[in-house]
């Protein structure tokens, strides 16, 4: 998609980035000690920390990824909102206060608080680094996606800009500036998402999202033997048909212009429906709807084909309330855009066809995760759903960059209160994601090349000002989250590994320098990964990070707190098994097979989310190894 760049967008973007950098300069002067760098001196107010928690948590995955997933797959995207929020219950009721009591700078400190074990230090630092990097990838991918419409720069430039700014922030000021950046960003994100939702409800539902919305061509067709297609229109000439997964795609010329259409039968009428398509020729040239990208023949999509209000079919609903909005979509009919890829001679063709979907199917699970027998759900489909919901529920309280925020407040009571502020802010935001996602789905706000841009492009349909602010906030979202992740990663390398595991003698100042150098290294690595993973939905990628965190870290945390027989070796082996099994399953999953250019159906493990296997494996390992290594090093019940 080619976007018009607005001066407004550039100005607001520069203002937000300038604000973030200004804060970093200000706090850099105050950060002199290791406790200041890693834990903001434990002096942050619980309310500020609570909103900063929300800022940390509402990453690119929440704002860009979930809204995009809802825009393309309806309620299935909202499952992420439910699971992400439910995970905070584990953090509040089981983890927040004990962890605050046990730790110093990092999650490894808490795990190792009663053992002083080198095994734990090494395992926890590796796990922190891996989980943070898994979480960093989607943030960087989201940054690249955002920069394209915002500044008109290519994807990799977005990744480079975010990486460079964040390396600067973290390498100058650490946790204090990260906290205040997250506080401002978290608050702005919730406020402007509310404003965007009010716009959506006030706009209501319309058959044609805007005056400029593309009018899709439809040609009457005659079909013999299922795939033998002809047309009566003398301006058209059929070139060839292609059957892909029972869909019949037709290449034809109309008035000399080549296009791909989809054969559709509805109400006993057979027609050819216009599609969006992209062709990559053998020499690498990309054509969008038959023309170079610069000719802007590619357009945004997403609309309703039928609106039912009070049992009557209407063209538009007018302003609606929040419940009426959901009810009206459920009673109506949505045109989604589904993707298929195939070869046409030497060319590789990707098409996005109109997929008319009943509103009732949009508003319940099933479009992305097949669950019912009638939809052909297999055992693995159901296991994938179970695995996702398990990983989301158990992943939150195992994310190192979230856990370190418990060390920035002065007391256990403050840790608890800040968690509750976070739950309220995040819960409210996640309810809004359903409106923003569905709003994108029906407002002509979908860039079929990137589901991640749905929410910012929805804002654009309401004016360039709102788009600029929302995009700049989304960019700050990425900046803030990446900062938190890099602080966590640098803590794992400099504090857990170099200082505690290798026991390199360092002054307090040298520890801060080591942390900053580690931050620079992790930042550069994440830039490279962000460029490599371009095009993937960021919420899906974060779901994988949750699965790795839930497998590697959560059994260790919970058993340390609630099982007296837990041993140091039990914790260390559980972390290692959790990391290896979860990453192993991901590497051999259908999604990664697609990324490798192989056939997803041939994946060695037909499971996209590893949690349902790797979490129990880590638990079993912890119990068995702990029972086998019972000596004097078993811990007390730390919950007391």
């Amino acid at each position: 998609m080619i976007y018009e760049v607005s001066n407004w967008a550039i100005a607001i973007f520069l203002f937000i980035v300038g604000l973030v950098l200004g804060l970093s300069f200000y706090f850099a002067r105050k950060t002199k000690s290791a406790s200041g760098y890693y834990a903001a001196g434990g002096s942050i107010h619980w309310a500020v920390n609570g909103i900063a928690f929300a800022g940390d948590y509402l990453s690119a995955a929440s704002f860009l990824g979930i809204c995009g997933m809802i825009a393309y797959s309806g309620y299935d995207g909202f499952l992420y909102s439910i699971g992400y929020l439910a995970g905070w219950v584990v953090a509040l009721f089981l983890v927040a206060e004990p962890l605050k009591k046990l730790g110093k700078y990092t999650f490894a400190d808490a795990l190792d608080s009663r053992f002083n074990s080198k095994h734990i230090k090494l395992a926890a630092s590796i796990s922190t680094l891996i989980v943070s990097i898994f979480y960093l990838i989607p943030q960087m991918v989201g940054a690249g996606d955002l920069i394209v419409p915002l500044l008109g720069l290519p994807h990799f430039m977005g990744v480079l800009i975010v990486g460079s700014i964040v390396i600067f922030i973290v390498a100058t000021a650490g946790m204090t500036s990260t906290t205040y950046v997250q506080f401002i960003k978290g608050a702005l994100l919730v406020v402007f998402s509310t404003i965007l939702t009010i716009y959506i409800l006030n706009n209501g539902l319309k058959l044609s999202p805007s005056e400029n919305y593309h009018k899709f061509a439809q040609i009457e067709a005659i079909v013999a033997n299922d795939t033998d297609v002809s047309v009566n229109d003398s301006t058209c000439s059929i070139m060839r048909t292609k059957v892909v997964d029972k869909n019949v795609f037709v290449k034809l010329t109309q008035n000399g212009v080549v296009g791909w259409f989809k054969l559709t039968t509805k109400d006993d009428k057979t027609v050819l429906d216009e599609m969006l398509y992209m062709t990559v020729s053998s020499n690498g040239e990309k054509l969008y709807n038959g023309a170079p990208k610069s000719e802007k023949k590619f357009f945004q999509v997403g609309h309703l084909s039928k609106i039912i209000v009070d049992g009557k079919e209407v063209d538009k609903s007018g302003p609606v309330g929040p419940f009426e909005f959901l009810k009206t979509i459920e009673n109506s009919e949505v045109v989604r855009f589904s993707k298929k890829a195939f070869s046409d001679g030497d060319d590789k063709v990707t098409v996005w066809y109109q997929n008319v979907t009943k509103g009732e199917n949009v508003m319940k699970p099933g479009l992305l995760y097949k669950l019912s027998k009638s939809a052909g759900a297999s055992f693995w489909d159901r296991l994938n759903f179970l695995s996702l919901m398990l990983a989301l529920f158990l992943g939150t309280s195992a994310l190192p960059h979230i856990l370190i925020r418990y060390y920035t407040v002065p007391s256990q009571r403050a840790a608890r209160k800040s968690t509750i502020v976070a739950i309220a802010a995040i819960g409210f935001f996640y309810i809004l994601t359903l409106y923003m996602g569905l709003g994108s789905m029906i407002s002509g706000a979908l860039d079929v090349e990137s589901s991640n841009m749905s929410a910012p492009l929805l804002a654009k349909t309401f004016g360039i000002g709102l788009f600029s602010i929302i995009s700049a906030i989304a960019f700050a979202t990425v900046l803030g989250t990446v900062s938190g992740l890099i602080v966590a990663s640098s803590g794992a390398i400099a504090h857990d590994f170099i200082d505690k595991y290798l026991q390199v003698e360092m002054t307090d100042k040298a520890k801060v320098t080591a942390g900053k150098l580690a931050a620079i290294g992790v930042g550069i690595f994440s830039i490279i990964l962000g460029i490599l993973f371009k095009g993937m939905n960021v919420s899906f990628l974060v779901g994988l990070a949750f699965a790795v965190a839930a497998s590697a870290n959560l059994p260790a945390i919970l058993f340390l707190l609630f099982w007296k027989k837990t041993t140091a070796k039990g914790i260390a082996w559980s972390i290692i098994v959790g990391v290896v099994s979860s990453i192993g399953i991901i590497l051999f999953s259908p999604t990664m097979f697609e990324k490798y250019g192989l056939v997803p159906a041939n994946a060695l493990i037909p499971l996209d989310n590893p949690g349902v296997i790797s979490i129990p494996l880590a638990v079993i390992t912890l119990v068995v190894v702990s029972l086998m290594t019972q000596k004097k090093n078993s811990t007390k019940d730390l919950s007391k």
């Binding site: 406790s35 834990a39 001196g41 434990g42 309620y75 909102s81 439910i82 929020l85 439910a86 905070w88 219950v89 584990v90 509040l92 009721f93 089981l94 206060e97 004990p98 605050k100 009591k101 046990l102 110093k104 700078y105 190792d112 608080s113 009663r114 419940f323 959901l326 009810k327 009732e360 199917n361 508003m363 319940k364 699970p365 099933g366 669950l371 019912s372 759900a377 159901r382 759903f385 179970l386 919901m389 398990l390 529920f393 060390y407 002065p410 007391s411 256990q412 009571r413 608890r416 209160k417 968690t419 509750i420 739950i423 309220a424 819960g427 996640y430 309810i431 609630f562 919950s639 007391k640």
Partner: protein, 90 residues
């Protein structure tokens, strides 16, 4: 040297009772969350049933889980604060 917190944390006599309360509330929420997951797994068609104000079960249950987490958070904080004030006074 072990890993003491950045700031000094005093003895909390309410810790054990707060932990027990936390575990009970966690189990209660987990059961309700598991109910949502199991309906999705074994009765997915039920998610489309309209149950309240024209909204289907998926919407009511999904919103309900989010709101319940917020409400339980406030209740937990209220109960913990009372326990702390009562047990740490002496």
């Amino acid at each position: 040297m072990l890993h003491e917190p950045v700031v000094e944390i005093g003895t909390d006599k309410a810790a054990a009772r707060k932990a027990k309360l936390g575990v009970k509330m966690f189990i209660a929420y987990t059961v309700i969350y598991a109910g949502f997951v199991f309906i999705g797994l074994f009765q997915p068609e039920s998610m489309g049933l309209k149950i309240l104000g024209g909204q289907n079960l998926a919407i009511i249950y999904g919103f309900g889980l989010i709101l319940l987490a917020i409400i339980m958070g406030f209740i937990y904080n209220y109960a913990c604060t009372r326990l702390e004030n009562k047990l740490n006074k002496n």
